[in-house]
């Protein structure tokens, strides 16, 4: 087994060397070697696949109430699977397993939606600050500092509270806004660090237009930390969205299968059916852990300090 692994590693190493040792290739090689990265990637992939095919593989209709499942709530119930229902039913007699699967899709939509919006807005702000510098930079950064001075969950809460009625969209927007200043600061910092680096100075000295310098030289070299942060943000976005739902700021529709809402609703039944809280929580933890592991190992892999 170990020799097989070694051979595989050697093959990967050879591949990486034949492809030259660009930072990206080097990073990929290191990721393939790190068990943390592989576990993270596996969890993320599993989540992505399940979330996408959830409606097709859900064994039951997640919104249908099954009367036979409600008997679970009797005081003398026996926990565990019932025939046809892998995890039993929820408090309204709906198939819990199917709802968990569909909940993965909800989390994916909210997480990716919020991260993408935050990423685009943050990169616009950070990119402008990094490219222009001067007063543009100082004003934009003052703006992000103020956004950062409000604790992120409280910022999300106040934005979500603006809507008179919660919905998935308000949750996405609320979480997205909290990530904007982080992306902005990150990209700006990475770009500023390059302003005086040799390759940028050389390009400028050669008379390359500023636009070309920014888009061809500064931006591509600044993307590493942004990619790492996006991966980590996916984890926090999913947790934060669940927190908003838990506080009653999400979509109030009780039929929606959303992990945070499922957890919040389960609290009342925790003495009778603790697993109602347990399963969605485990789902959130696994997904958040997956993205965190992947992000952290990406960070390490992309860190030039670790290059040999």
């Amino acid at each position: 087994m170990t020799s097989l692994l070694k051979r595989k590693q050697q093959r990967v190493d050879a591949l990486a060397e034949s492809a030259g040792t660009s930072l990206a290739a080097d990073a990929v090689r290191r990721m393939l070697r790190s068990p943390v990265a592989l576990i993270g990637a596996f969890l993320v992939l599993l989540f992505l696949v399940l979330a996408i095919i959830a409606p097709f593989i859900a064994p039951k209709d997640p919104y249908q109430r099954y009367p036979e499942l409600l008997e679970d709530l009797r005081p003398d119930f026996i926990p565990g699977p019932m025939p046809g229902f892998l995890l039993g039913g929820d408090e309204l007699g709906r198939d819990f397993f199917s709802r968990l699967l569909v909940g993965a899709q909800q989390s994916l939509i909210v997480g990716v939606g919020a991260t993408l919006i935050g990423l685009v807005l943050g990169m616009l702000i950070g990119g402008a600050a990094g490219a222009f510098g001067g007063w543009v930079d100082s004003w934009l950064m003052r703006f992000t500092d103020i956004m950062l001075s409000i604790p992120s969950l409280l910022l999300a809460i106040s934005i979500a509270a603006l809507a008179s009625r919660g919905s998935q969209t308000t949750v996405i927007i609320a979480v997205a806004v909290t990530t904007v200043p982080i992306f902005a600061r990150l990209l700006r910092g990475a770009m500023l660090a390059q302003r005086h680096s040799d390759h940028v100075l050389a390009a400028t000295a050669l008379g390359v237009r500023r636009r070309t310098v920014v888009f061809r030289h500064m931006l591509p070299n600044s993307l590493g930390p942004v990619i790492v942060q996006s991966t980590l943000t996916l984890a926090t976005a999913i947790i934060e969205a669940a927190s908003l739902s838990f506080l009653g700021l999400g979509d109030p529709d009780p039929s929606r299968a959303e992990w945070g809402l499922m957890l919040g609703n389960s609290q009342r039944y925790i003495d009778v059916k603790p697993e109602l809280a347990f399963y969605p929580a485990i789902a959130i933890i696994i997904v958040a852990l997956g993205f965190t592991l992947l992000g952290e190992s990406l960070r390490e892999a992309l860190d030039p300090k670790n290059r040999r």
């Binding site: 003052r142 603006l162 947790i239 927190s243 506080l247």
Partner: protein, 334 residues
């Protein structure tokens, strides 16, 4: 040193001003405006117009902003739509509960976090280190409210080791001095009151402190590892300085710089997490006020809480900068 503090205080003023402007705009962008929010379901166009006049909302916008600024500077945040009581009074009563919880959680995180991070760095790559790193990664992935629910179910309901909710046992009748339950018990020498309050603090503080703990462990570990690689540590070791002295004078002191920043940054996490923790443990602090305010869309209350959180955050960061300057003289000069 004094000049540094004054300079940083002055720098905080524009931030707070712009923050107040943001909160002002936030209130204006409510569905139906502040008047609509105040009237709620009973809002009709005529009623909104009449109330707008009463609230001075028919005046030019910059005059409104200055009046708003004047009101909040004099501590007038209006009355809660739920209780009808001045928001400031409500907050004043709930604040000690949240501060008590937050400080205990932070204390838990620091007291366990720094030694654990230091130990992990000292045993780099060994079992203790790996276990710690994995533990911190998992710790960050657990939603605060689930950890709260789990602790409560396990240690309060099933094992009955700790009380499941509240700050004080109902059978105890404490004398209120400061509204800090533990402090009150100590000041009035009612030892059972203080002990009971501490007992109630354990589970919520662990739930709230776990993520900050994980963060502090990771930063301490990374920071100590960085410092251990520095030339001056090698020099100190090479010249035969006692290992304990090297650790205390050279490694720890230098490694504490990023850690102290991180501790300051945890305030945001604590304030956010307190909302969730207080909900789970029926704590009755600011988080409970906030949660109730969200449910009923009590905007005067939400506005005051939001501004308060931001002010606290700005002030704590100020304190962090000052502590930074105390630890590292180089910061003062720049």
């Amino acid at each position: 040193m004094l000049r540094f503090i004054v300079r940083r205080l002055l720098q905080a003023i524009p931030t707070l001003l712009i923050l107040s402007l943001l909160v002002f705009v936030w209130l204006r962008s409510l569905p139906g405006g502040p008047a609509g929010a105040l009237l709620g379901d009973k809002a009709t166009p005529e009623k909104i117009e009449a109330l707008n006049k009463v609230l001075g909302l028919d005046q030019p916008i910059f005059i409104q902003y200055f009046k708003f600024l004047g009101r909040i500077l004099s501590g007038d945040f209006g009355s809660s739509l739920i209780s009808g009581e001045p928001v400031v009074a409500e907050i004043g009563r709930a604040l000690p509960a949240t501060i008590e919880l937050g400080l205990t959680a932070l204390l838990f995180a620091v007291v366990f976090g720094i030694p654990l991070g230091y130990l992990a760095a000292s045993y780099r790559g060994r079992f203790l280190d790996n276990a710690t790193v994995i533990g911190t990664l998992v710790g960050v992935a657990v939603p605060v409210f689930f950890l709260g629910i789990l602790l409560k179910q396990l240690f309060a309901q099933d094992l009955a080791l700790f009380p499941p909710s509240g700050r004080q046992d109902v059978t105890i009748d404490p004398t209120h001095v400061t509204n800090f339950a533990v402090l009150d018990g100590l000041m009035t020498q009612e030892w059972d009151v203080a002990a009971d309050a501490l007992w109630h603090l354990v589970l919520p503080a662990i739930a709230l402190g776990t993520i900050p703990l994980a963060v502090i462990v990771r930063i301490t570990r990374a920071s100590v590892l960085d410092v251990l690689n520095e030339d001056f540590v090698r020099t100190a070791n090479a010249k035969g300085l006692q290992a304990t002295l090297v650790r205390r004078r050279h490694v720890l002191r230098n490694a504490m710089l990023p850690v102290s920043t991180t501790i300051g940054l945890q305030t945001g996490l604590l304030l956010g997490g307190a909302v969730l923790t207080e909900r789970v443990f029926v704590w009755g602090g600011l988080g409970s006020l906030l949660a109730q305010g969200i449910e009923r869309r009590d905007y005067p209350r939400l506005q005051a809480l939001l501004l308060l959180a931001a002010v606290v955050y700005v002030l704590v960061n100020l304190l962090v900068d000052i502590s930074y300057a105390i630890i590292d003289p180089r910061v003062r000069a720049s």
